[in-house]
Amino acid sequence: MPGAITLWLLLVWYGATSAVSWLFLLAGWMVALIAAAAAYALWNRAGLRLDMQVRASTPGPDSPAAELPEQLLRTAPARTLFEGDGAEVEVGLETSGAGRGPAWVAGRIGDEEVTLATGLVPRKGWRSTHAVPSLRRGVLGATGWTIGSSDPLGFFQGKRRCPDSEVALVLPRFASLARQRLVRELETAVTSPRAGSGNELFGIREYRPGDSLRRIHWRSSARRGELVVREYEPPGVQTVGIVLDPSPPNVEVADQIARIAASEAWDCLRDGGRVEIWAPGFEPTDSPRDLWGLLEWLARYPDCPPGPAAIDMSTAVAITADPQLLELGAVRRWLVGDAEVEGEIEFERVGTAWPL
């Protein structure tokens, strides 16, 4: 732009001092070009919208997705992502009416700065894929995004801020911890209920080795093409409360707490139980049998909605980096990190490495 104005001034000055009228024609074209470019830039700016979504994902090593039964995955929200997975985020621009351009977008996906540009945004929109090789637990946010646009010559450039948005929610990784529990006596407190126990029918699930053949629901099995068993409300301990440290010292510890909580929840749900997850000062989860709801709560942990409610600690599992939380009356306790624990409290200490 300054170059064009300088050129225009130069042409007018030379035209005025040399009487070579052609220079005035060139100067006139330059002014008209600047004006047309300004009009173009306004038009271009008005019709562009940012669009962002996860286009594809690749499971990372030890991704729970590989372990989860098909039936459960079918109920998963669209494009379920676990930490450690890779994802392809599609950043695009939509145009209203005719093709526009040039335009560029810049912002952050998660922690990564992304800048993409195109000369042409066709009528059907323009898309570019940005790969995130390894996702972190939590909200994969699109923050600080701006749409830049200009006239084709770049004289008039403008930027428009877009509101921050969530591209995806990355769930914590988890794995069954039942086989790794060393403190056997704790198992008696939280008895693993089996399908077939109890009296109250509350659903069906896939057949697992060990299930009674009498519990097979043949009609559903025929319909689904796989063996399905009736699931009964187990007698005894049906609900496991998981209490989390409300203020973990760092992200790594928070991730580990979320992973252990997810694993505990998975173990419980798999055995037909119910799970309630809570952290002091926060609203507890409200879908005790919905794995995905629990995982979403854990994905946001510790940025959960605050609330005064509390849970019954008599059947709770405590997972914390704060030793004080271990003193609550939990049936099983996990301590993440190296904090000193005073007194005779039984707990299991873990680091931040995963799998445990």
Partner: protein, 666 residues
């Protein structure tokens, strides 16, 4: 000490940007070929530049070799030597040496386009080349080259912008075309409508270094267009004889690019004897080819500023600098100039075709009010008395002069009364028999034939004014010519050779007055305002229906370009339309496919209603309720949707069946 390094530029990586830079340069070189009539260097330059771009692009990421840099530096010095040698000694013909130097500079530096500065500098040098060509461009076709250059500049800007934001070189074609079209049309409207300011240049407009022909002794020269029987060494006439008048053609003698239409003043004569005007003062002052303001007389007390003129000589002219006087500065590509006693500048030799010189002149304030207020108080200093000597003017002529100006109270009204009398009572003609022998040409004009040409009007006016004690003298030169207020240029032809009068006003000096009928009495001073294109109103009558055709016709050989563009546009639109209409996959038809579809089309014609595009063959068959379609529809459906086209023999059978059925129906 850190070495100064220019920042790497992404523009250098862009093939498209380079292509636009090269194209802009090629257009500039083409302009020099067409308008500078200079061929060798532009062509060599374009070819070398193309090769240079290829080399520098291929090796853009390599380290610069010392020897290549040294060679390029040597070549630049070679180009510098060329421009000096060609300018001063005309070693290579002396044609546009500065343009050729610029072309060579671009060609050489294109081998080493490693920084954006060089890419841009190529563009700006090409703009300078375009400017040099523009100085010599006198027709509207030049606008095509200018538009092309601008488009390449725009292309470069686009490629450079897209490269900077790291995007591919693709833009929305329709919106882009609309923007460019609007800019081109808008720019032309601005060019026509907006006034064009005029300013004083700080340097000569055109710098053609002088040839070194100096003033020599007197010699005979060939006759030249003006009325002249004798001439000096340069061909400039030394006298004007009213007994003779040459025939003047319509051939252009020079183009004048000027901020204002004016009379192009040449020689001045102050002695009249027996029908012949001569100059009384033969004093000369020699000057350098560039005459700056400090070497010229002080500007007139009442002046409205200055304006620039560039003269391009088309036919051999006397060695006289024709220009609007009084001059503020002057540049002519000669070894030296000579100023005569009347303020006219002379060149050592004839002005050859192709010579271009430039002048800056004052615009004196010669309004009637200003002149009327100019009281004749000062004494006119005329050492030899030539400017008041009415010579052989007869008594009846003097009496007529006195009679005409009766009642006037000031010099201007006196001059105006006499001028208007001559303009109204006498007829201008070029078809005049020779003045009879022994008859005074002025008396013959005033009392016998009462018709004459410019010299006779001017002579009569000058002598009659002298008889009234008003100093006056004869001036020859050219009238404005065909002035184009848009391009600020005039085509001066042989027939525009003219003579008029200069009258002395004490506070204004010599004021040009033209007694020739058909022009304003102060026509010679009819300068427009600073806004040279304020005369845009002159253009409006030309904007008629026939104007586009006339404009096309005036393009001459270039006329094929708009026509070609129009034809190409029609072809492109037709192709796009056909493409859109017939969006058929370009595959080879299956055997029997085209035969079946032809048969299907024939039957549709027979049905007198063609199948509508959204209608399926089945719907069409149901709608038409015709037996002719039954088998055919099935075959078409199978072919179109299942890819099972019938064999050609089968199609022929179907055709026979259809024929039989239709004949039965008939």
């Amino acid at each position: 000490m850190r070495r100064l390094r220019l920042p790497a530029s992404p523009i250098e990586q862009s093939v498209e940007a380079r292509a636009f830079v090269f194209s802009a340069f090629a257009v500039a070189a083409l302009a020099i070929v067409l308008y500078g009539v200079d061929y060798v260097v532009p062509i060599v330059g374009v070819v070398a530049s193309a090769a240079g771009h290829v080399v520098s692009y291929r090796e853009r990421n390599l380290r610069r070799g010392f020897w290549r840099q040294a060679l390029l530096a040597a070549l630049i010095f070679g180009a510098l030597f060329y421009v000096i040698a060609d300018s001063s000694l005309a070693l290579f013909g002396g044609t546009l040496p500065q343009a050729n130097f610029a072309i060579l500079l671009v060609a050489i530096t294109s081998f080493d386009l490693k920084t954006r500065r060089n890419c841009y500098s190529s563009l700006w040098i090409s703009l300078a080349i375009v400017y040099l060509a523009a100085v010599y461009a006198w027709d509207y076709e030049f606008a095509i080259l200018l538009a092309l250059w601008l488009l390449y500049l725009v292309g470069f800007w686009i490629a450079s912008h897209l490269r900077r934001i790291d995007a591919g070189v693709r833009v929305p074609a329709r919106a882009m075309a609309l923007m460019l079209g609007a800019a081109l049309v808008g720019g032309m409207v601005l060019f026509v409508v907006l006034p064009q300011p005029a300013g004083a240049p700080i340097s000569p407009v055109v710098i053609s270094l002088p040839n070194f022909t100096s003033f020599k002794g007197d010699m005979e020269s060939a006759a030249l267009p003006l009325v002249q029987l004798t001439g000096d060494s340069t061909g400039a006439t030394t006298s004007v004889d009213l007994h003779f008048r040459g025939r003047l053609g319509t051939a252009p003698v020079m183009y004048v690019r000027t901020g204002a239409p004016a009379y192009w003043r040449g020689l001045v004569f102050d002695v009249y004897r027996n029908g012949v005007w001569t100059a009384s003062d033969h004093f000369y002052r020699q000057t350098e080819p560039y005459v700056p303001p400090r070497l010229l007389p002080q500007p007139p007390g009442h002046n409205l500023g200055t304006f620039v003129q560039t003269f391009h000589v088309l036919r051999p002219l006397p060695g006289v600098i024709y220009a609007a006087y009084p001059l503020q500065s002057l540049y002519a590509p000669v070894a030296a100039l000579r100023e005569d006693a009347y303020g006219t500048f002379h060149t050592p030799d004839q002005l050859r075709p192709g010579v271009t010189y430039s002048a800056v002149s004052y615009i004196p304030d010669l309004s009637p009010q200003s002149l009327r207020a100019d009281e004749n108080e000062a004494v006119f200093e005329d050492p030899n008395g030539a400017n008041l000597d009415y010579g052989s003017l007869s008594q009846p002529a003097r009496a007529l002069a006195a009679d005409v100006v009766t009642g006037t109270t000031n010099e201007f009204d006196t001059v105006l009364a006499l001028t208007r009398y001559l303009q109204r009572r006498y007829t201008y003609t070029l078809d005049l028999s020779p003045v009879p022998s022994r008859r005074d040409p002025v008396d013959w004009f005033l009392f016998d034939v009462k018709r004459g040409y410019c010299e006779q009007f001017a002579t009569a006016e000058a002598l009659m004014l002298r008889s009234l004690n008003i100093p006056a003298r004869l001036v020859t030169g050219y009238s404005t010519g065909d002035y184009d207020p848009i391009l600020n240029q005039a085509v001066v032809r042989e027939r525009d050779a003219h003579a008029w009068v200069e009258v002395w006003f004490p506070n204004h000096g010599w004021v040009p007055v033209d007694p020739t009928p058909g022009v304003s009495a102060l026509a010679a001073t009819r300068f427009p305002s600073h806004w040279a294109a304020g005369g845009v109103a002159h253009l409006i009558p030309h904007l008629t229906v026939s104007a586009p055709a006339a404009a096309l016709g005036s393009l001459g050989a270039f006329g094929v370009i708009p026509a070609g563009i129009a034809i190409a546009a029609i072809l492109v639109v037709a192709y796009a339309w056909l493409r859109r209409r017939m969006r058929l996959p370009r595959r080879k038809a299956e055997p029997g496919e085209s035969e079946l579809l032809r048969l299907y089309a024939r039957v549709q014609r027979k049905m007198r209603r063609r199948r509508a595009p959204p209608e399926t063959p089945l719907e069409y068959e149901e709608a038409m309720r015709s037996l002719l379609l039954k088998e055919l529809t099935q075959a078409v459906n199978e072919g179109a949707y299942a890819g099972r086209w019938p064999a050609p023999e089968r199609v022929r059978e179907m055709a026979r069946g259809v024929l039989a059925k239709s004949s039965r129906r008939l």
